[in-house]
């Protein structure tokens, strides 16, 4: 073991020498500091025997380890070798392929801690170099690699101790419901507890019931709105369990959850405002104005009222005037008030539309419990943007939707907004959900919301009937030029690597357009003469010919691509050679 470098690191993180106090608790059993140092040393030797990869010019490893204790060990070992840890959000195979780095942690290398036996070269940590790179879980949904150096990480852990350390005792155990590989769990749960020499509980809180199984001790809860809002259902704290404080971050905490959470814990529940890029910026209790974190200075950009952040955590990354956030704010002597995202303005036509405003207007309707608006590019008509509404209905709204047709309900909601919003701001696409889709941080990402609008139908344009002269004109004949969207929902998994349009979907489309153009209800009839001859693939532009039979009781359909028939059949009463498909799952 190379004592000097590890001691440097220990001092750096203010880890006291083995004072008999545990670093963590696993299954209620303490893991002492001596064991922690032994594990660190083993991890260092393992890593020293691995050839590091390179990210943005720095040598390092990808670290993914669901176990919080092992994660902490690998992380400190990586740093003590002067290496960088890239922290992916998951270890899915796609992520592994995208990160061309040696992978440390997880089930595959859990045993490696004791089996590798290479000599460890010593190197003192250079505190200015990057310590971790993480992926943001920003509201744009696009992962972005963010770099944090050791100085920033240490400064953040110190900031928390200064802001909230007064609430804690040295024995206070940290326990969390959030992942530790993101820029909330990492500094708040792992680094704060390590640097402040507070032990942490290895086991994550998954469900409110887990709170009833805690050992008697003082606790600090590092959590997020998705977990905190369920505290109303949690069993009462076991005897001897005492909460000293809690934090919430990742997404806005509803006032009901803030109040019920604080009441359950009988402790202050601090909501944290910040981002992966900026670190923690401000805190508040309940709905009181936000207060800047120690060392953070706030101002507003003139004109736009966007929040400017001056923070030691930015470490030179801000301009002279500060880090320009995407949030519009108001500042006065009472503190900070956040007024919404600057980027929640979209231009439709020549008008600037505030998505927040549209959401507010919709939320006033008795049918609506809560709503998110997503701007959607409108594929075929130039560059116009249309708005999609993802709505959680109130019981009243649900009742009305169930009582009639979705299209009429959509139009009725649009109707209610008219006069309150510009016609351009009226949502065009409606999705009714029981809850918003969100990731494990409890963040409703734009990506997840957009997925709800993945197209199910092709774009169709009607063409003149090519053989207009024969058989008495065009009546009852429709020729459509289709464009099959590449992101069509039906291609998912059908088939991996070779997406083709499922036959049942072709039938469904033929039925859909027969209804649109002829009012023909294909659900009540069978299909005969059905044949699939050539495949249709993403981005293809097939044509669909529909002919209503003279007696009005049947519709012939032909899909063709470049003059070659893809499939054909007849919707007709009587003999059935294939069942009409249900909507594919």
């Amino acid at each position: 073991m190379s004592e000097p470098s590890l001691q440097t690191l220990a001092r750096y993180w203010a880890l006291p020498a083995d004072d008999g106090r545990p670093v963590a608790y696993r299954g209620g059993m303490p893991i002492g500091r001596a064991a922690f140092y032994r594990d660190l040393d083993a991890a260092r030797r393992t890593l020293a025997g691995l050839a590091p990869g390179e990210v943005a010019g720095w040598p390092g490893f990808a670290l993914f380890e669901p176990d919080a204790y092992r994660f902490a060990v690998w992380l400190l070992a990586t740093w003590s070798l002067g290496l960088l840890a890239v922290l992916p959000g998951d270890d899915l195979s796609a992520t592994r392929e995208a990160l061309a780095l040696p992978w440390v942690g997880g089930a595959n290398s859990a045993n490696a801690l004791t089996t590798w036996d290479a000599a460890a070269p010593a190197s003192d940590a250079d505190h200015g170099r990057p310590g971790v790179m993480l992926f943001t879980s920003g509201s744009t949904g696009k992962p972005e690699l963010i770099e944090k150096n050791l100085e920033q990480l240490r400064a953040e852990a110190e900031m928390f101790e200064r802001a909230f350390g007064g609430e804690l005792t040295p024995e206070t155990r940290f326990v969390t419901s959030v992942p530790h590989q993101h820029m909330y769990g990492l500094p708040f749960f792992i680094l704060w507890s390590l640097s402040g020499a507070h032990p942490f509980v290895v086991e994550k809180l998954r469900y409110p019931e887990d709170l009833g199984r805690l050992q008697p001790a003082d606790y600090a809860l590092i959590s997020a709105p998705t977990f905190l809002k369920h505290l109303v259902d949690a069993p009462p704290p076991p005897a001897g369990v005492c909460w000293l404080m809690a934090t919430s971050a990742g997404s806005p905490l509803a006032i009901e959850a803030a109040e019920s959470g604080a009441a359950y814990l009988r402790a202050p529940l601090f909501e944290i405002y910040g981002s992966t890029e900026t670190g923690a910026v401000a805190w508040r209790l309940g709905k009181a104005p936000w207060q800047a974190m120690p060392g953070v200075r706030l101002s507003l950009e003139e004109g736009s009222s966007r929040l400017l952040i001056h923070s030691p955590l930015l470490a030179g990354r801000e301009s002279v005037s500060g880090f320009l956030s995407g949030d519009i704010a108001r500042l006065d002597e009472r503190g900070l008030e956040l007024l919404g995202r600057a980027d929640r303005l979209v231009k439709i036509g020549e008008k600037r539309i505030s998505l927040t405003r549209v959401e507010e207007e919709l939320a006033r309707l008795p049918e609506v419990k809560s709503v998110r608006i997503v701007p959607l590019p409108h594929e075929h008509e130039g560059d116009r943007v249309i708005l999609g509404a993802v709505v959680v209905l109130s019981p009243e709204g649900r009742q009305r939707l169930d009582a009639g047709k979705k299209a009429r309900f959509d139009l009725a909601l649009r109707d209610r907004l008219r006069g309150r919003l510009d016609a351009l701001a009226l949502p065009r696409r409606w999705r009714y959900v029981t809850a918003f889709p969100c990731n494990e941080m409890g963040k409703v990402t734009r990506q997840a919301l957009e997925r709800l609008f993945v197209p199910l139908l092709p774009h169709a344009e009607r063409l003149p009937w090519p053989r207009g002269g024969d058989e008495g004109g065009e009546a009852g004949k429709v020729l459509l030029q289709l464009r099959v969207p590449r992101d069509l929902a039906w291609f998912e998994g059908h088939f991996p690597g070779f997406p083709i349009l499922p036959g049942v979907v072709q039938l469904d489309w033929a039925a859909h357009f027969a209804r649109r153009y002829f009012g023909f209800d294909a659900t009540a009839v069978g299909v005969s003469g059905l044949k699939f001859q050539n495949v249709i693939r993403p981005g293809d532009e097939p044509r669909l010919e529909l002919v209503l039979r003279r007696d009005g009781k049947g519709v012939e359909f032909v899909f063709s691509l470049d003059g070659k028939i893809s499939s054909h059949g007849v919707f007709t009463p009587g003999k059935q050679t294939a069942d009409r498909p249900d909507a594919p799952a």
């Binding site: 299209a407 649009r414 109707d415 153009y517």
Partner: protein, 89 residues
């Protein structure tokens, strides 16, 4: 030649197709309700798209923002009447 009711149905399908109205079928649209404002609630960009579409489909030239245009777009029925009378395709 198609009957007037068939033409009304066709115009409804044309509007649904041109404006990519989701989950809406011709039977959901009231032939006498206004296209803009109350009723379908189409917006100014839609009127442009409809104008272009009408020219392509029926060979109609509709001048923007005239009083006549307002009249033509006042309902599906009014639009169908105009199409029946003035179509060149």
């Amino acid at each position: 030649m198609a009957t007037f009711d068939e033409l009304i149905h066709e115009i409804k399908a044309f509007i649904i197709e041109t404006l990519d109205l989701e989950d809406v079928f011709p039977e959901d649209i009231d032939a006498d309700a206004p296209l803009f404002g109350d009723g379908l609630g189409l917006d100014s960009i839609d009127s442009l798209e409809l104008g272009v579409g009408l020219q392509k489909r029926y060979g109609l030239k509709i001048s923007a923002e005239s009083e006549e245009t307002r009249q033509i777009f006042s309902s599906i029925r009014a639009l169908a009447g105009y199409v029946a009378e003035h179509r060149t395709i």
